[in-house]
């Protein structure tokens, strides 16, 4: 190409463009990388009050009655969820369950291993589930606890790893607490020595008597225990009542506990003197924190919610068959129904989205009939404490997947 000197436009322009392009490329290549964005962590901001509320639980909750022993009062080892050793004080081998289970501070921290003896543990665990948040560890233990219980007496070891017995304790809410006191001794897993003490078990009638007494005492003393005591009392006094796991909630527990302890101690002293189940000072406190099982479902673990939901769905599915319809049935009847504690239908099921189309109307009626036919529903023991969660249900009754 010849570029006449008199017309230098083209080459100059080409060179300029090339230079600009090169400069740009170089500049970009050298540009600093963006800083790596830090991983985002979800943060929930809560206020002091909320935290306190969480720790403290609800005043109106049915607090787990802490097993309380007079002796224990002395040893408040609270806020130690772990050291079982601390509680080794069981001086008295007592069976009488008459101890009130108030949220004794002393019992609080000691996660009783009473669970071991409690025959009913599985239930308890469910009841106490709300507490888990504070004790990350406990929940898992709860599961192994029950099986261990039987041997608990025999082998201290299992106890040891139950520092988290707290969970195990959970199950105990009903009656057990009272019995727990007596049983406390035995449960204290960490002490093999205690084992021997565990042996004394209350005779049933004694326990019953004590329970009666306890009932009265508890009623008087524990205003706030409210239902818990009733629940406890109603439970069969079984010797093996598991001890409530005192979930040591640091700090917060003290407040409620102190409230109880004064009254409880007085009551206990007045009645139970001879029979202390000297549990090692660990109080089985039903940590009334986090509210009672009757608190909202938010306190349930998601896996438990899932179990209750799938149990319900599998149950009602037996009565719900697919429809014959050439066009995919787009109408999905939504049926709302309420269950009593025993799983029986309360009132009539209700169709929330009735239709005027005759075929859809017939389908809606079939949906209501299906719910009626499949009622009542057997409620497994582990769900009974979560009545609030499954009391009202809405079913979207769909076709086959």
């Amino acid at each position: 190409m010849n570029f006449p000197r008199t017309k230098p436009g083209f080459p100059i322009s080409a060179a300029a463009h090339a230079g600009l392009l090169a400069a740009t490329l170089i500049a970009f290549a050298q540009a600093p990388k963006f800083a790596e964005t830090p991983e985002t962590v979800p943060i929930e901001v809560i206020t002091d009050q909320q935290l306190n509320q969480i720790m403290k639980g609800e005043k109106t909750a049915h607090a787990v009655k802490a097993a309380q022993r007079a002796e224990k009062v002395a040893e408040q080892v609270e806020t130690h969820p772990h050291p079982p050793q601390a509680e080794a004080k069981r001086d008295v081998p007592t069976p009488p369950p008459s101890f009130k289970r108030t949220a004794e501070p002393s019992d609080d921290d000691a996660p009783e291993k009473p669970v071991k003896e409690a025959p009913t543990p599985p239930k308890r665990m469910a009841a106490l589930t709300p507490e888990p948040p504070t004790r990350p560890a406990p929940p898992p233990k709860a599961v192994p606890a029950p099986p261990v219980k039987p041997q608990a007496k025999a082998a201290p070891d299992p106890d040891e790893d139950k520092p988290d017995d707290a969970e195990v304790v959970k199950p105990k809410p009903p009656v057990k607490p009272k019995l727990e006191k007596a049983l406390k001794e035995p449960p204290t897993p960490p002490k093999p020595s205690e084992k021997p003490k565990e042996t004394p078990r209350l005779k049933t009638d004694e326990v019953a008597k004590l329970l009666q007494q306890k009932k009265l005492e508890n009623k008087a003393a524990k205003a706030d225990d409210g239902d818990e005591s009733d629940a406890e009392k109603s439970e069969k006094p079984s010797k093996t009542a598991e001890s409530k796991t005192a979930k040591p909630k640091s700090g917060d527990e003290t407040a409620p506990k102190s409230k109880f302890s004064a009254a409880n101690i007085a009551n206990l002293l007045s009645h139970e003197a001879p029979q202390q189940r000297a549990s090692s000072g660990r109080e089985r406190t039903q940590l009334a924190s986090l509210g009672a099982p009757t608190a909202t479902a938010a306190k349930m673990s998601p896996s438990l919610q899932g179990r209750i939901d799938s149990y319900t769905v599998e149950h009602y599915r037996k009565c719900w068959a697919t429809t014959l319809s050439m066009n995919a049935m787009t109408y999905v009847p939504r049926v709302e129904f309420r269950l009593s504690r025993a799983g029986a239908l309360e009132g009539e099921p209700r169709l929330l989205n009735p239709s005027t189309n005759p075929i859809e109307k017939a389908r809606g009626e079939q949906a209501l009939a299906a719910v009626r036919r499949c009622s009542p529903m057997q409620i497994p023991a582990e769900f009974t404490s979560y009545y609030d969660y499954w009391r009202v249900t809405e079913l979207d009754m769909k076709e086959d997947m």
């Binding site: 979800p42 929930e44 901001v45 809560i46 909320q50 935290l51 509320q53 969480i54 720790m55 806020t79 130690h80 948040p133 504070t134 990350p136 040591p248 640091s250 700090g251 909202t296 479902a297 938010a298 306190k299 939901d309 319900t312 769905v313 009602y316 599915r317 037996k318 009565c319 719900w320 068959a321 697919t322 429809t323 014959l324 050439m326 066009n327 009539e348 189309n357 005759p358 075929i359 109307k361 017939a362 389908r363 079939q366 209501l368 009939a369 009626r372 036919r373 609030d388 969660y389 499954w390 009391r391 009202v392 249900t393 809405e394 079913l395 979207d396 009754m397 769909k398 076709e399 086959d400």
Partner: protein
Amino acid sequence: MTLNLTRRAAVSLIAGGALAPFAPARAARVLDLHAGGGFQPIAVAVTNFVGDDAARTVTSVVNNNFKRSVFLKPVDASSVAGGEIANPDQTPNLDAFRALNAQFVLTGRSQRGGDGRLKTDFRLFDVTTGEQAAGSQFVTDAANTRRVAHLVSDAVFTRITGEKGFFDTRVVFVDESGSKDHRRKRLAIMDQDGANVRYLTRGDDLVVTPRFSPSSQDVTYMAMTNEGDPKVFLINVESGQREAVGNFPGMSFSPRFSPDGQKIVMSLSEGSETNLYTMELRSRTTTRLTDTAAIDTSPCYSPDGSQIVFESDRGGSQQIYVMGAHGGGGAKRISFGGGRYSTPVWSPKGDYIAFTKQNAGSFGIGVMKTDGSGERILTEGFHNEGPTWAPNGLFLMFFRDSGGAGGPKIFMVDVFGRSEFPAPTPGYASDPAWGPLQD
């Protein structure tokens, strides 16, 4: 320690705790419940109707109807007090029926009054609520016992499923007798359950493709007379009066009524062409709908009268086409599977078109949506042909000629393809045409 715990607890609780105040206090949980099993018919316990022999007839006709209904299933009530109900007006002992897994209980009475008329009433009880779900009374001539039973069956069927019934209907068909070489074909009519068979023609002419009017007691059909070409005839089933629809130079076949009963659509052959025509019954005016060199036949109106589905080989093989009821072109092909499609019929519900499909020696009766999608074959075999819809769009009748020395027989199938029932005709039978619910 306290501090530690708090912090620890706080960390672990942050999400849950923060949400706690926001969790709904007692909200109902909402669960998805997918149906647990395949379709189950709804069980109805049919108790013995109280009354005289009419009551016994009603009970057995109702039982038989439910057995063929696919949606309902009759439960034998004889284990509960022998199936007898002392007072059909009262709620029966529902616990006993619940134990039979019945969802509904039907009670009733049927007896002749002093004036000779038959008075029938029924009550349907819902076992899950204990309340009466339906009840009605009918008065009719004593000769109509079976019709009353069909009316009771329809009322129960509609109440439970929401669909229209089909029991109080009649079917026109071609009764075949004689040897294969000298087959005598007569036009006949019967109740949908096979009772009350009556012959409408003597059998001198060979009759084919009868079609019921949707609005009157008239049947149109084609007859091959010995003298001339096949002709379309109109016959009134009550009076037996018959007339020729028109004089057409060419052959005419496949006549069908329009939904309002005022027109007949049919195909006429002229030379090598066969095209569709409509004729006003009153004025006898004819209108040509298609104009192709192909063979267009087997026309059928949509239930709203706006479209016509028909069979044509204009594309090279027999396929199904849909066009506007006024013709004039614009026919759209809707059958695309392998094989040849013929005898299309539009469901009275308007949602499906049934057809005969022939593929590699096998004949099947199938349904497809009106745009051609969702094709399903309901029954297959050698020589299944000629579907006709029940007036509620849920059942089809067709005929099957298994070949050999025997002859064709009529069968009923539900549109879901779940069950097939033979229609009990006195002899061989073909070309069924299902009539509307009688009023």
